[in-house]
Symmetry: C2
Subunit: 143 residues, 2 copies
DNA sequence: GTAACTGCAAAATATTTGCATCCTT
DNA sequence: AAGGATGCAAATATTTTGCAGTTAC
């Protein structure tokens, strides 16, 4: 796992530092998306808050993670798939926000939205946020 | 128009005050969504910033407006249709963010998304944000 | 060794809260 | 008249910036 982390950083022409390894490992070991606050908490008191801001910004610019705006105005971040490059993504994202465990899942390559726009509107990118109950929580709730 | 504004406030059991009339009129006279900053600017220097916060909060709670989270982390607000009540909406929203004029349009009752979730995921609410070029800008750009 | 990264301090910005005053009903 | 809304001041929270010291390559 540690090797994978270093590889991702090197592939993106980033120097391998403790904070980057730590923050990237948080994403790799967490199914779902993380908020800035989540990352600060999970990283312990080891890193300055400013470093978290700057690391997330760097990861965003490199396309390692992407931002997910949610209805409660708390931005979450999640790992991008390999085909996300240089901060640009393919033309649609599907995210699922579980009302039960509050995890955010990226379902990008699982479903495809069909959006019929009115005449005259041209779509360039589509972001879908679905709120509901995720697979894991559903399983634990209903037997 | 002034009558309509008062009616909306009264229908929602809100007292009719200058700031509420002014802020509500901004929404009624603007096709698209407004950010907190937009509202402060358009309202001129007449209202305290705190009043804008509190008025938007009140309108949100009454379901007069709803919040639209966007990828750049700037929340916008837009009028709700009549069937939005008490801060709860129907189960899907479609918003269109124009990359040209930067307006945000609500297309709620125009299109219906078809989202096929993986097994085990249960959807409760669906929010769609489409980025592209709106009808008005398309018309002005292409002859 | 050099360029880049980090932590600290501080500035800038955004949001919330308390309270006295004013306005709506 | 009474309850609610507003403005002001101030407290909090969030995000950004500058710079000196440290680390990666």
């Amino acid at each position: 796992m540690a090797l994978e982390i270093k590889d991702i950083l090197k592939k993106n022409k980033l120097s391998v530092t403790g904070s980057r390894e730590k923050i990237l490992s948080l994403f790799l070991n967490h199914e779902g998306a993380l908020s800035h606050g989540d990352i600060e908490k999970k990283a312990g008191e080891k890193f300055d808050r400013v470093t978290v801001y700057r690391t997330l910004q760097t990861f965003l610019e490199k396309g390692i993670i992407h931002a997910i705006p949610t209805a409660d105005n708390s931005i979450r971040y999640a790992l991008c798939k390999d085909d996300c490059t240089e901060g640009h993504h393919h033309d649609h994202h599907i995210h699922f926000l579980c009302m039960h465990c509050h995890n955010t899942y990226c379902l990008d390559d699982i479903v495809t939205p069909e959006i019929k726009l009115p005449d005259g509107y041209v779509a360039d990118q589509i972001d879908v946020l679905v709120e509901g109950v995720c697979k894991n929580c559903k399983a634990s709730v209903t037997k």
